[in-house]
């Protein structure tokens, strides 16, 4: 889920860039040097997972998994997402450098919220059904939050002119939300069954 270059005005770009920079700074401070490889590995795995396309009707949607990333990484999701988005902007032209802050904010902020709300499900003694529910809710919070923040940024930039665009953007992402929730539920349930201890040691 990316906002393209040229859609947001300069004040919105600057404000969202500053907020994202703040989130990245907090994320880096909370990420000890010894946990850097774990954050990079989880970030890389989720980066690759987000390139998987799932058929929906006659088309397909790609996974986003920002909620699952936030659940597993906590505040470290901010630096992990800014790295992933910078690479995507440079290598694939998804998003861009000027809108990097806005895109980081809209994906990472709901991811941190998913972590704050659902991290209890990562404990080794959590019931499998609770883990599956947390995985599904991570998808709902992650994509739902991203839609809300994208809508807020667009409304701040274009006001009434972007009203229809906001509605269309939200409707287009409903299948993404459903798929992310379904995949997150099964993936977290499998992880909890196979590696409960490793799951409990992910960064906080």
């Amino acid at each position: 889920m990316h906002l393209a270059e040229g859609v947001l005005d300069a004040p919105t770009l600057i404000a969202s860039g500053l907020l994202a920079a703040g989130g990245v700074a907090v994320g880096l401070r909370r990420l000890p040097e010894s946990r850097l490889p774990l954050a990079a590995l989880l970030g890389a795995a989720l980066f690759v997972a987000s390139t998987i396309h799932v058929p929906v009707g006659v088309g397909s949607v790609h996974l986003v998994l920002n909620g699952l990333a936030g659940l597993l990484l906590g505040w470290a999701v901010f630096p992990v997402i800014v790295v992933a988005l910078a690479l995507q902007a440079a290598l694939f032209s998804f998003g861009g450098f000027a809108v990097l802050g806005a895109n980081t904010l809209l994906l990472a902020a709901p991811a941190v919220l998913a972590h704050a709300l659902l991290r209890g499900a990562l404990r080794p003694d959590a019931a499998p059904a609770r883990r599956a529910l947390a995985g599904a809710l991570a998808g709902v919070v992650g994509i739902g939050g991203a839609i809300l923040i994208a809508a807020g940024l667009l409304a701040a930039s274009g006001g009434r002119a972007y009203a229809e665009l906001i509605v269309l953007l939200a409707v287009a992402h409903v299948p993404v939300l459903a798929i992310d929730a379904a995949v997150g539920a099964t993936a977290l349930a499998v992880l909890g069954r196979v590696l409960p201890r490793a799951l409990a040691e992910v960064p906080r």
């Binding site: 040097e33 990079a40 890389a44 989720l46 799932v54 690479l87 798929i179």
Partner: protein, 241 residues
């Protein structure tokens, strides 16, 4: 433009970031159109030099225009008490967004063509990225290739067992299991990497990035790129006088 190939990666990345920022906030469609034309010329040179291909340029611009299509579906129309009505200012806005999005994508492609992910990570570190973020970027780049191979292996194995992705529950289950396998690999490998780094006496410090280039040629490239960007931006303003 053949100088672009020899230009320091840091200068090229800095130029791409500056060009993106300038284009993203330029309000005059004529200026953005000239910048888009200049960026497309840069892409043509990059294709001629073999740093990218026409197919890659087309694929990237197509990806950019997926969002732009949503803009064209919505902005020229407004829902009023009389139903949907045509709204000319929306067309102007959609045109400006289209020009900006394509100009930024083409400029980044032209300036960064031929630099791989490792080169980008080194260039970003050399541009003053915080040390920890630069290390995170370098490690992420290293592991993305690894997991991409794992993903291809799993997909091949699935295909060999007759799996075809369809809009059904089985596809969702297989996709979720693929994600779980990638995450399991990450968690298990992280433990090994942490132990290996400690065994090598890793102190949390990495070698400093290379010093800035002193050759006049490098700075001449940076000045020429800056002049081209400013010239393309100012030309329509000057012509309109």
């Amino acid at each position: 433009m053949s100088c672009t190939r020899q230009a320091d990666h840091r200068l090229r990345l800095a130029a791409a970031v500056v060009a993106s920022a300038v284009i993203a906030v330029t309000p005059q469609p004529a200026s953005v159109a000239v910048l888009l034309a200049a960026a497309l010329c840069g892409c043509a040179v990059a294709v001629a030099l073999g740093e990218t291909s026409v197919r890659d340029v087309a694929r990237r611009l197509l990806a950019v225009n997926a969002f732009v299509a949503l803009v064209w579906v919505t902005l020229p129309w407004q829902l009023t008490a009389r139903g949907w009505v045509y709204w000319p200012p929306g067309v102007d806005l959609a045109l400006l967004i289209t020009l900006r999005a394509n100009a930024v994508a083409a400029a980044c492609l032209a300036l960064l063509a031929g630099i791989d992910a490792f080169g980008l990570a080194r260039a970003a570190a050399g541009l003053g990225l915080p040390a920890k973020l630069a290390r995170l970027m370098a490690l992420t780049v290293r592991y993305v290739g690894l997991f991409a191979e794992t993903r291809l292996r799993i997909e091949r194995a699935c295909r060999a067992r007759g799996f075809r992705a369809r809009p059904d529950r089985r596809t969702l289950r297989v996709t979720a299991q693929m994600v779980a396998v990638l995450l399991m690999q990450a968690l298990l490998r992280a433990e090994r990497v942490e132990l290996a780094l400690r065994a090598r006496g890793f102190s949390g410090l990495y070698a400093a990035p290379a010093r800035w280039p002193r050759q006049r040629q490098q700075w001449a490239w940076a000045l020429a790129t800056g002049a081209a960007l400013s010239g393309a931006w100012l030309l329509p303003v000057w012509l309109a006088r």
